[in-house]
Amino acid sequence: MRLTKSLKIHDTQDQNQLNSTDQRPIWRRLLPYILQQPGWLMAVAVTGIISSLSALLAPWLLGKAIDTLLGKGAVRWKPLAGLILPLALTYLASALFQWLMTASSVRLSNQVATSLRKASFDRLTRLPLSFLDQKGKGDLLSRLTTDLDAVNDGLNLLLNQLFSSLILLVGSLVMMFAASPWITILMLAIMPFNFLVTRFISSNSHHMFMEQANLAGRLNSYVDERVEQADLLRAFNQEEISRQDFHQLNEELYVVGQKAQFFSSLTNPGTRFVNNIAYVAVGLAATLNALAGRITIGQVSQLLNYTLQFAKPVNELSAVTTQLQNSLAGARRVFALMDQPEESDDASLPELKVSAGAVSFAEVRFSYRPDRPLITGLNLDIRPDASVAIVGPTGAGKTTLVNLLMRFYDPTGGQIFIDQQNITSVTRSSLRRSIGMVLQDSWLFAGSVRDNLAYGRPGASDAEIISAARAACADEFIRRLPQGYDTVLSDSGSNLSQGEKQLLTIARVMLLNPRLLILDEATSNIDTRTEILVQQAFLRLMEGRTSFIIAHRLSTIRNASLIIVMNQGSIVEQGTHDSLLQEKGLYYKLYESQFAGREA
């Protein structure tokens, strides 16, 4: 119960697409990716046709060769010798072209999966933060890996079988028609049954594969949320409970997976059954007709042979059709991700030009959830060069101001200006590049310390990197790491303490030399002596520039040129440290409690 409620996918658009069972739109969207590789598609077709033709030619040559072995002393050596080499060559060609076909289809299907993975990744980098904040990492991850693996496998299977089966189908149809048109028509009369069986099984298995993929995504989300917190689970003796939760999800996946696999694997026995019934019916009818003298024994055996021959490609194609449902289910989930509305295109907009660094909020309204308004009509004017401190109880909306200024979220009403430019009328990247940001949650990527520091300025020299690290007081501990600046941070820096990670993110921003600066509890995990040094470095960096500092410790912000006190989404007071103390409002209360605490 605990799980099912929480792991529900929130947004309805994604959900609607995942629940649909119509396959045609999926095909329509998948096809362009296949056609993007016309060369390889041609290669698959040509090599597939050649290898199938040579596979058909070989038995004919073989028959011819056997025909030369008439009996004792009657072997016709010359034609036999003339046939052996072509036979060998045909086998060789068949093998060679079969390999070329498979190699091409492997190439093509991998290329399709790769393009889709790239396209969905690129989409991911353009999706609004609101989507990413809400959606489980694990489910998105599952779409870009497991689901695309299924697309790859199914496509490869289809390409491998398609041409050879078509050739075989057409070939045997032509031969049957030449031998006896009415038998052919009889054969074709069985087709609808096969078609019905396949259709029934494949549309049902599409639904099941879809369910399986969605559940796998949920399972992935569950593990993803916990894999980095295993120490926390252990410390709270949650191993058994989490094991049970996982087990429950896993069992659900088993039930759905087993059903999907079994049901989809019915195609082969199902169509074979239909074919066998046809074979028996044809056989019985033919023998009874032969009994009545209407057809010859030779015709009976011919009829039966064709029935068998015709069944083979039909069986293979219907098996492929069903297996393909797994790929289509995967593709549907990938396309649903790619259909998520992304941040509006701003390529045509001008870049933000920061000169003085004046920031103003005009009648800004915002809420994360429509039913719970947070900021209602916020006005604020910040003169250039100001150092602005934002204080207030937790949940007051301080971090929300950062989200809005950085355009991680857009206000539902009102405007924000930097140097008289509306931040929605400039490119996001120019806006964000102008602002250096250090957050409470440090983020580092799996890479060397050096690469992490130079992330915002790839061209930075070693001297610049080291001086930024020195300013952030990080140089000393970096040098103590096993490989110094070249130490690779495994698992996004999980081998560092929170404080060390924070120092690295500070050094990263120090190197940027930004026009505006946002520090959101940026030094909360750092010891005070280091904190003072880091703050001095920030002061030097931000001289003559606008900065925003969010902090709970009021001692760190008393020199700010403007202090904004927020409560429940609104600015309740603003002024300097001294003026606010005189007002004896919320700031005074917060400060007093701190002061009182120190005296105690």
Partner: protein
């Protein structure tokens, strides 16, 4: 202490997971065999209908044999359906059991051993790799029996017709085996690389989701897209190469056996010419050979799946083979008779060196904490404060010394017993998706859940009651992944409430009120004092004011003890502590 063996024998290590499905694994192929036999019987019965029924003008015979055929077809369907059913049960079952086993390992294995593998790789193993194993099991059940049956049958029939020629075929079998082995060897290596590259791709995707704010703030999306593209292409190349090499299997096998056919035809010329073989025999021989080729192709198609599954099972069994013990030989637990002087938490000359490092991160740390006492731990960033917690929580093995709780050594206590005595508030405040209640009930025995009053009192003490009361749903309010729908300070207070609810003898607060304003923090500290009168409390902090009332304060400097004592004694005798205190007073002025 190295876990070598499982990596080297991935298949043997999978056996315990296959064992519960031995019925399906045996019967499935057997049923498939029955179906294959029926499939062979049908044309034979049909031949009798023609040869006997039509020849004798026996209408009755035709009808009865027609019905017999129908029966055979239906029986064949039943057997093949049963086989497919067993294949689906066994393969999905093996996959499900493996997933549970890997997840259990994630839960049990301390950080020291799991961290080198990495989160993305663990996720990949629990999904992608197990999928490959699942697929291989299913295909083995479906295809294993039929193909060899047809191949061996064909072989026997060829021997009956003409042993001298059939021997040639027998010679091709070892060649085919060597061929398959060589190709498999080559592809296993490439598939291992491909899975590793998948790990990398997954790491990039995860990093880009969790680091979206930083990446966008630096406008690095184009860089990330390019870097992902590079790695995505590398994965493409590896998978394509592996696929292309392994797809050699089928054509080469058929070429080998078809070569055998050509040879047989050529040789049979002389045999027919000298009257040792009839034309009809050659025809039959050719048919059987064709049947063998088809069967071998099926085997080749099956074998293609093995390299990837083999590479994957190596990765899965590597995780499964990890042992949870941090110490080579855990001594048998002493019957507990707690000496009065050993009650509480004792660190005795504790040193810890991380596996990747040469230098110890903690050296010779000693203190003794009695119930009702608080220990403050203070020190610069990177001085070893978090390492102290990692040692206490058994995430990393202490390299020297001992830690005891109520006289029991960390090296002797069972992991769960040890953890049961500790309530921990981590530095990084993380909640789990679910409800507030489900998060709060974490540390508590499930059979005796506390009532709402207990929950509210813990929330009250953690200074969280005020904002929880305003939430829609109150205690049952929804918690998003990681607790993202709460502010940093709210999350911290909820994680404190979660720990306070646990009845433990040691409470550990790892810099856990850094996002709290001073007033809240003060009230919190007073409430914690009240609530933990019977327990040892360890408070790690950057702030002197948060630890100054502690009975003992441990000052850490670069992994060493720079001082241990009360606020007053440290102010007099510990220069580092004086420094820290002075810096904070200066900041307050």
């Amino acid at each position: 202490m190295k876990d070598h063996s499982p990596v080297q024998k991935p298949l043997r290590n999978l056996l315990p997971y296959l064992k519960p499905y031995r019925l399906q694994l045996c019967l499935g192929p057997l049923f498939k065999l029955v179906e294959a036999v029926i499939e062979l019987l049908i044309p034979m019965v049909m031949a009798r209908m023609i040869d006997i029924g039509v020849a004798r003008h026996d209408r009755q015979y035709l009808w009865s044999h027609g019905l017999l055929l129908l029966g055979l077809v239906i029986i064949g369907l039943i057997f093949s359906l049963s086989c497919q059913y067993m294949a689906s049960v066994a393969s999905q079952g093996v996959g499900t059991r493996l997933r549970t086993a890997v997840y259990e390992q994630i839960l049990m294995i301390p950080k020291a051993k799991l961290q080198p593998i990495g989160s993305a790789s663990l996720l990949n193993r629990i999904t992608g790799d197990i999928n490959q194993i699942q697929l291989a099991v299913a295909m083995t059940i479906r295809l294993l029996s039929r193909a060899p049956f047809l191949a061996i049958g064909g072989m026997i029939m060829s021997f009956i017709i003409e042993p001298r020629l059939a021997v040639i075929l027998l010679l091709t079998v070892p060649v085919a085996a060597v061929l398959l082995y060589v190709i498999m060897r080559a592809t296993v290596t490439v598939f291992k690389l491909a899975q590793k590259q998948t790990d990398k791709v997954m790491t990039l995707i995860r990093d880009n989701i969790s680091g979206a704010r930083v990446i966008r703030s630096l406008a690095k999306e184009p860089h990330e897209q390019a870097y992902f593209g590079e790695n995505n292409n590398k994965l493409n190349q590896l998978l394509t190469r592996a696929g292309q090499i392994s797809s050699l299997m089928n054509p080469l096998t058929s070429l080998l056996f078809n070569g055998g056919i050509v040879f047989v035809i050529w040789k049979s010329g002389a045999l027919v010419d000298t009257g040792q073989l009839r034309q009809g025999d050659v025809l039959a021989l050719a048919n059987y050979l064709g049947q063998i080729v088809l069967a071998m192709m099926v085997v080749a198609n099956l074998v293609i799946l093995f390299p990837r599954a083999y590479a994957s099972s190596g990765r899965v069994t590597e995780v499964l083979g990890l042992k949870a013990d941090l110490w080579p030989a855990p001594k048998p637990a002493d019957p507990a008779h707690i000496k009065p002087e050993s009650v509480g938490l004792v660190f005795n000359q504790v040193s810890l060196t991380y596996p990747a490092n040469r230098e110890p991160s903690l050296e010779q740390i000693s203190f003794r904490l009695k119930p009702g006492e608080q220990l403050g731990v203070i020190g610069a960033t990177g001085s070893g404060k978090s390492t102290l917690i990692a040692a206490l929580l058994r995430e990393y093995a202490i390299s020297r010394g001992d830690i005891t709780i109520n006289g029991q050594s960390i090296k002797q206590a069972a992991v769960s017993d040890w953890h049961r005595q500790i309530a921990w508030v981590p530095q990084k405040a993380v909640l789990f998706s679910g409800s507030l209640r489900s998060n709060l009930l974490w540390g508590l025995p499930q059979d005796a859940p506390p009532d709402d009053q207990d929950l509210w009192s813990a929330l009250q003490d953690a200074q969280a009651a005020d904002f929880v009361r305003l939430l829609p749903g109150g205690l049952d309010a929804a918690v998003d992944r990681g607790g993202q729908n709460f502010s940093g300070g709210q999350r911290q207070r909820l994680t404190i409430a979660r720990a306070l609810l646990k009845r433990a003898s040691i409470y550990v607060f790892d810099d856990s009120s850094s996002a709290l304003d001073y007033a809240t923090d003060l009230a919190l500290r007073q409430a914690v004092r009240r609530r933990t009168r019977q327990a040892c409390v360890v408070i790690i902090s950057q702030r002197v004011y948060q630890v100054r009332e502690a009975e003992q304060i441990l000052v850490l400097d670069n992994g060493h003890m720079a001082g241990l004592g009360t606020h007053q004694t440290l102010l007099q005798h510990c220069p580092l502590y004086q420094d820290i205190a002075r810096s904070q007073e200066a900041a307050a002025q």
